[in-house]
Symmetry: C2
Subunit: 296 residues, 2 copies
């Protein structure tokens, strides 16, 4: 029967040496020569069967792409460039070596366009369901990383694309906004940024809390995705509700100086007073966070 | 009901700023200023309920310690010093916020003595079993990382401690041999090293394959742990078999120049001819790898 070392040997055969990676997959750790004068950004995200994907519906290739793309989207949110990644997979007993290879190839599908190398990992099989993680290393590439904490009163609030209804399929196929972020920070004074993974109403709250500011959103300006309209037909919640609260859009939400001329959709304004409000049909009301949060 | 953001806020409150970490937990990624002239080592390991621990027997504190210690042991195997880590946890619905905090505190128990900081992570709850991962960043700290691939014919083969029977409990409580490795590489020409996680017979094979060499082991010189003797009473396999094939000892196996005077137990010699053999009672026989491998 094939085992993890067959997989590791195959993965080693897929790896090409580079200036960054002195020792790739196959030792206890990978060895990297980190570029001088570049900050190192690091984070990790997981995908779990039944939560972030459904293994009875989604291919292993699509699952591998998603776990990598979730991490690449975090790089976009910080305006850094992905450089290297390590991954774990917990395989159910029911899958085979080809399935594991497809998970790996899915990660490579997502990472290769950004020259992000998969430099190590850990594979195990268990009596549980499929779980994958990717930890990502990003490099600052000559710009200061954009934090959630820099929004200033008067800043405009923007999003990079239409929102809502990603559960209809887009949550598996989104493109991380790495190039958009790289262009933005080089041309405009971006003060805070986050990727929309938990839903606009919740992610905007993260930015406001960490920046010690409030926000007013204009409901009529929020770009609604066609999927939000489709989803609304299914559950009778209005499309705006989907755009405000659905998770996993993976567009960027950012703030920038009042006079910036940014080629994205402005949806509101940062305020000095705490609290997040939405203006709708001439009325102002608090915007409650209804996005995704894992209960514990 | 408490949620992941309560946990994240609590974790943020546990974090102290440092020279290495410019932005710690709570943003999309952590931001680190990697020390100039230090190589960056990176890897990841997971622990899964029913494979690496048993959640009905082991405390969350012990589980958190183990997942961190597995990664710290990889740092020992490369002779680097751990600097920072990120973690994921997939929580079953049955556990609460206090349980999640204990997992975190277990990781800190293991990491703090080495000044290794937990700088980020990802928490989710699901209908599955408990799964944790840690990805670790190590720094070369002025020495060349020790790979598996450097063993030379004539080198002595050594281990840092007695082997076998870790399943009786030591697999949850081992101490990663970071200090031992740091001393070794500064005093002796260590040519290859690995930590014994899959069992001596299998891990020695990794070293030999990656170094393109063979090995002869002297059975009488292998240090047998008391736990191997205990285990042998339970399953009637002789203690030597446990010492040769049991996994998760997390002692170091290393090779060094023939004339090195190393304060550890020598168990054999590297050979130019491929193949791994064991001398026992005047007879030489192939040493088959019976250690741990996840079937896929």
């Amino acid at each position: 029967m094939p085992g993890e070392f067959d997989l590791i040997r195959w993965i080693q055969s897929q790896h090409k040496p580079s200036d960054l990676v002195l020792t790739g997959p196959g030792d206890d750790l990978a060895v990297l020569k980190w570029p001088a004068n570049e900050l190192l950004l690091v984070g990790v995200d997981q995908v779990l069967d039944g939560v972030h994907f459904d293994s009875t519906l989604h291919s292993p290739r699509a699952i591998g792409r998603k776990v990598m793309n979730r991490n690449l989207s975090d790089c976009a949110a910080m305006a850094c460039l992905p450089a290297a990644a390590v991954a774990t997979v917990a395989l159910p007993r029911s899958v085979d070596l080809e399935y594991a290879k497809e998970l790996y190839l899915g990660m490579r599908d997502a990472a290769d366009p950004f020259a992000c190398e998969v430099v190590g990992g850990d594979t195990a099989s268990w009596e549980g369901k499929l779980a994958m993680t990717v930890a990502i290393l990003g490099r600052s590439a000559g710009v200061q990383p954009v934090l959630r904490s820099g929004a200033k009163p008067g800043d405009g609030i923007y999003v990079t694309g239409p929102l809502g209804g990603s559960i209809l399929g887009r949550h598996m196929t989104f493109t991380p906004r790495i190039f958009e972020a790289a262009v933005l920070v080089r041309k405009h004074p971006i003060t805070a940024m986050i990727d929309l993974s938990d839903g606009l109403s919740r992610d905007l709250r993260h930015v406001c809390e960490q920046s010690n500011v409030g926000a007013v959103i204009d409901a009529s300006s929020i770009p609604i995705h066609d999927d939000a309209i489709m989803a609304s037909r299914q559950d009778r919640r209005i499309p705006l509700e989907h755009a405000l609260h659905d998770g996993e859009d993976h567009e960027l939400l950012f703030t920038t100086a009042p006079d910036a001329n940014v080629p994205h959709v402005r949806i509101g304004t940062v305020t000095a007073e705490p609290g997040i409000f939405i203006d709708r049909d001439g009325q102002r009301a608090p915007l409650e966070p209804k996005g995704w949060e894992h209960a514990i």
